[in-house]
């Protein structure tokens, strides 16, 4: 062929030699390339493993929290206010209510800390510790817990009852070792005597690690971080998701049906299509700006309300649902439409009675994917004021509330880092658990619906 090819056997040998050399180089490259691929996959899988490993290892211990089991004596000399007013003694229910309120006020003003202190000292009779340091052992809401017990059942007056009180966040840190136990005294959050007592209590079983149900039933708390829970954030997220489902699904499905089944090919339709594709890629924070400017500033809706959050997330979720529903509609065979039309059904009847029901599994999956996405969204909610500290469970979609991802954001910024790092991971576990549950439901329903269809 070319002048590099020599004639005869010598040439053949030389060429073979050249090919062999290049071949070994090429095979080496092949192996390197393969390894690059394997390493990339290993890296990606490694990231998943590290991420979940970190969250689980940090978060799971937080679900078991140190709890102090003591015998509380409801001392009649300490609890003021006397017996609970009885309805029969008063001329009207209103008067009775007023007397009850006054009784509750008097009871609240009693020295409940003293009762907590006595109960704790009874567990370690010979231990010398200052009152202030002793009370540091348990959460500061212990006194309200005992008071509420008394409110619920005034008969305990003068009796000794077994009570489980949460240990304070600092005690929990110390016992779990989330704070460096070898640090000198001045860098520890608890006094030396309190730490020794905590260790002693753990040894003799007064302190045990119990499952922390209050993470699910309590609201956020600043004064008693050990009792902080997710109930308020969960309800806020729930209201928002209801708003999203109620608005985004009908509107999204309707737009998809129009665009796919009815829309004439004209400028307006093109405009809508381009719009939807672009909206799907607009950063979420821009939707937050829209919410702040339009819903709050222009329409005067309340800040921090789940309704506004839900509206913003609805607009964000719409493109997801529209695009997925359109794909599902496109997958319905045209023969179905032709058969329905041929039998005399109108176009509306064809679409709503025959085509749309075929897409239910697809619409359902799209809805759940959209809702899961909305459930984890944080940035737009910060802009509409849902990052405020809310200490009660919202009663309706117009009450101030926060949301699960925002609660994670708030907790990771808490100054008690040692305690809240674990608590934040626990909140993340709850959030990821919810998302997993949603996806599992989607897969389950989808397989059932597809079997039927």
């Amino acid at each position: 062929m070319t002048d590099t090819v020599l004639p005869g056997a010598a040439a053949g040998a030389q060429n073979r030699e050249r090919v062999r050399k290049s071949l070994s180089r090429r095979h080496r490259n092949e192996i390197l390339f393969r390894w690059a691929g394997i390493l990339s996959i290993a890296a990606a899988l490694g990231f998943v493993a590290i991420l979940f490993g970190m969250i689980l290892s940090k978060g799971l211990p937080s679900f078991w929290q140190s709890t102090v089991h003591v015998e509380a004596f409801f001392d009649p000399e300490l609890i003021e206010g006397g017996p609970r007013p009885v309805l029969a003694d008063f001329p009207s229910p209103a008067d009775h209510q007023q007397a009850v309120n006054e009784w509750q006020r008097a009871v609240t003003l009693s020295n409940w800390n003293r009762i907590v202190e006595t109960a704790l000292r009874a567990e370690a009779p010979d231990f010398e510790i200052e009152t202030r340091d002793l009370l540091e052992l348990v959460t500061s809401s212990a006194r309200f817990q005992l008071r509420d017990m008394y409110f619920a059942n005034p008969d305990v007056l003068g009796q000794t009852m077994p009570v489980s009180i949460l240990a304070s966040a600092n005690t929990d840190n110390w016992l779990k070792g989330t704070i460096d136990r070898s640090q000198p005294d001045e860098r520890q959050q608890l006094a030396a005597t309190t730490r020794t007592l905590a260790d002693q209590f753990e040894e003799n079983g007064t302190i045990s690690f119990d499952f922390a149900w209050h993470i699910f039933t309590n609201v956020d708390s600043r004064s008693a971080p050990a009792t902080a829970g997710l109930a308020g954030a969960f309800m806020g997220s729930l209201y928002m998701m209801i708003v999203v489902i109620v608005l985004a699904v009908p509107i999204g499905v309707a737009s998809a049906v129009y665009l796919e089944e009815f829309a004439p090919k004209n400028r307006l339709t093109d405009l809508i299509e381009v719009n939807i594709n672009n909206l799907a890629a607009v950063p979420s924070i821009v939707f937050g700006l829209l919410g702040a400017a339009v819903f709050i500033n222009y329409f005067g809706l309340p800040r921090s309300a789940p309704l506004v959050g839900g509206l913003v997330l609805t607009l964000m979720t719409l493109p997801t649902i529209i695009i997925a529903t359109r794909a599902a509609l496109r997958a319905v065979p045209p023969s179905l439409r032709q058969a329905a039309l041929g039998l005399g059904a109108s176009r509306n009847q064809t679409v709503f009675h025959h085509v749309l029901p075929m897409t239910y599994p697809g619409v359902l999956t799209a809805t759940i994917i959209g809702v899961a996405q909305a459930l984890g969204e944080t940035a737009p909610l910060l802009l509409i004021g849902m990052s405020a500290f809310i200490a009660n469970i919202p009663a309706g979609p117009l009450d101030s509330a926060t949301a699960l991802p925002v609660q994670i954001y708030l907790w990771q910024g808490n100054e008690n880092r040692n305690f809240f790092e674990a608590r934040t991971s626990a909140a993340i576990i709850v959030l990821l658990g919810l998302m997993l549950l949603l996806n599992a439901i989607a897969i389950f329903l989808r397989s059932r619906l597809e079997k039927r269809a």
Binding site: F33, P405, I408
Partner: protein, 458 residues
């Protein structure tokens, strides 16, 4: 209470009118030789539409305008000099009257004028509510009456209902347009208000970002140079791409060209889990794990790396984007015709040579489009950078130092009790507009490239 009354009214109208339409049309057809054009269901729905829609329109109008009507009514009751005050004082005067009328009381003794206005307002409130309810009910009844008079065998009830359904569908699909319009208009309006405080040139080309909050007491507006934020955004996006593109692309290539089907069916979903994790979780991951790890690594090799830095945020954002790149590249590689691959292999090229010299060049436009889409995601990402970038809006080239981005500054400027009048909060909208324009441009470009690529092989 009010909402309950309205809901009850609408429900009653709905059931009654549907029942009337349905039963009347059936009676027409029963036993006689006439045949209805539409089935009774459609007559019922049509009657219900005629009755309920006017009532909803009345109630909707009231909901829209009751606020301003009420305010002007209360102002009319108050002495004339009240209305000439500052808007803020007028608002608080109105709020006082409403509070007195609601019975909760106000701070300080209400004046005689206020008490009188409050009682007038209370009765106005009741009367107007009753009036609106009565008007809605009357209009609904009128609509029903008209609808039931129209019922005849030849009435095209189904066609009319279908026209209404079609209109409702169109209305739903315009929500997307309205959203875009709302975004553009609100961003533009507030950004223009910001530019009335700050020269746009100072904003777009300024190199210092220092929005002094008014509580600092300096009284000056502060400096709003976009460049440090823009640079931070670009730097973090570049780092994210340096992490995501090689890993994402190589995993896609390996999974689609080399891996066994069983491996693929296990590994692919696991990688895609990364796409479903909320960004706040990535932010926490960056803050707690990646940041300290990188800073420890830097210490070991003698470089000073801060725990919250552009590097931390960029690496974690890269991890977040891996599944995005890998699934898009997977699609694109799958679209390259099989014949090209077979031809190359048939000529004796190794598999990796086929991939590098044939598949990738053919898929390049698509991959570039995918990377552009990924960049636009990285630019708009917020929570990772809020937690992990260190929030230090200074122009520096070292990625190991803390930095700040456009999105972080939006969050910082608008979180808290923003009042939408100071440049400190309005700047968020100018930043948002910049962000929106940037991502829009990238997306349009990416979609254009991807579409061109698809057409090439169809």
């Amino acid at each position: 209470m009010n909402a309950l009354v309205i809901a009850a009214l609408l429900l009653v109208l709905l059931t009654v009118s549907y029942q009337v339409g349905w039963s009347r049309s059936r009676k027409l057809a029963d036993g006689k030789d006439t045949r209805l054009h539409s089935r009774p269901i459609y007559h019922g729905v049509l009657a219900a539409l005629f009755a309920v829609l006017p009532a909803i329109v009345i109630i909707g109008l009231w909901a829209l305008f009751s606020q301003s009507v009420t305010n002007s009514f209360i102002l009319a009751q108050l002495p004339a000099e009240v209305a000439q005050q500052e808007p803020f004082a007028v608002q608080s005067a109105i709020a006082r009257v409403q509070a007195i009328a609601s019975g909760y009381g106000v701070i300080g003794e209400p004046t005689a004028a206020e008490t009188a206005a409050a009682s007038a307002y209370a009765s106005f409130q009741q009367l107007s509510f009753l009036g609106v309810i009565a008007a809605a009910a009357a209009l609904g009844a009128g609509g029903l009456f008209w609808a039931q008079r129209r019922i005849a065998p030849r009435l095209r009830a189904r066609t009319e209902v279908e026209i209404f359904v079609r209109l409702a569908l169109i209305a739903c699909s315009t929500v997307a347009i309205l959203t875009t319009l709302g975004i553009v208009l609100s961003l533009l309006a507030d950004a223009l208000r910001f530019f009335s405080f700050i020269n746009p040139l100072d904003f777009f080309f300024g190199t210092t970002w220092n929005p002094r909050f008014q509580s600092a007491g300096t009284g000056s507006a502060g400096e709003y140079g976009l460049l440090p934020l823009l640079w931070g955004t670009v730097m973090i996006s570049i780092i994210a791409m340096l992490v995501a593109v090689p890993i994402g692309l190589m995993s896609a290539i390996y999974l689609s060209q080399y891996a066994h089907e069983r491996v693929r069916s296990v590994v692919k979903p696991i990688i895609e889990i990364l796409a479903g994790i909320p960004t706040i979780v990535y932010g926490f991951f960056a803050l707690v794990t990646v940041g300290p790890f990188l800073s420890g690594l830097g210490e070991a090799i003698g470089i000073d790396i801060r725990a919250t830095s552009a590097l931390t945020a960029g690496v974690v954002m890269g991890i977040m984007i891996i599944p995005f790149i890998s699934s898009l590249s997977d699609d694109i590689l799958g679209q390259v015709p099989r014949t090209m691959r077979d031809g190359s292999l048939g000529l004796g090229a190794t598999q990796s040579e086929t991939i590098r010299k044939v598949l990738l060049p053919a898929a390049l436009p698509g991959v570039v489009g995918a990377v552009l889409l990924a960049v636009s995601r990285a630019i708009g990402e917020t929570m990772i950078v809020v937690l992990a970038a260190g929030n230090s809006p200074v122009l520096r080239a070292n990625p190991a130092e803390p930095t700040s981005t456009v999105t972080v500054s939006i969050v910082n400027q608008l979180t808290g009790d923003a009042d939408f009048t100071s440049p400190q909060s309005l700047v968020a909208f100018a930043l948002g507009l910049t962000l929106f324009a940037m991502t829009l441009l990238l997306n349009v470009l990416a979609l254009y490239i991807v579409r061109k690529f698809r057409e090439q092989y169809e």
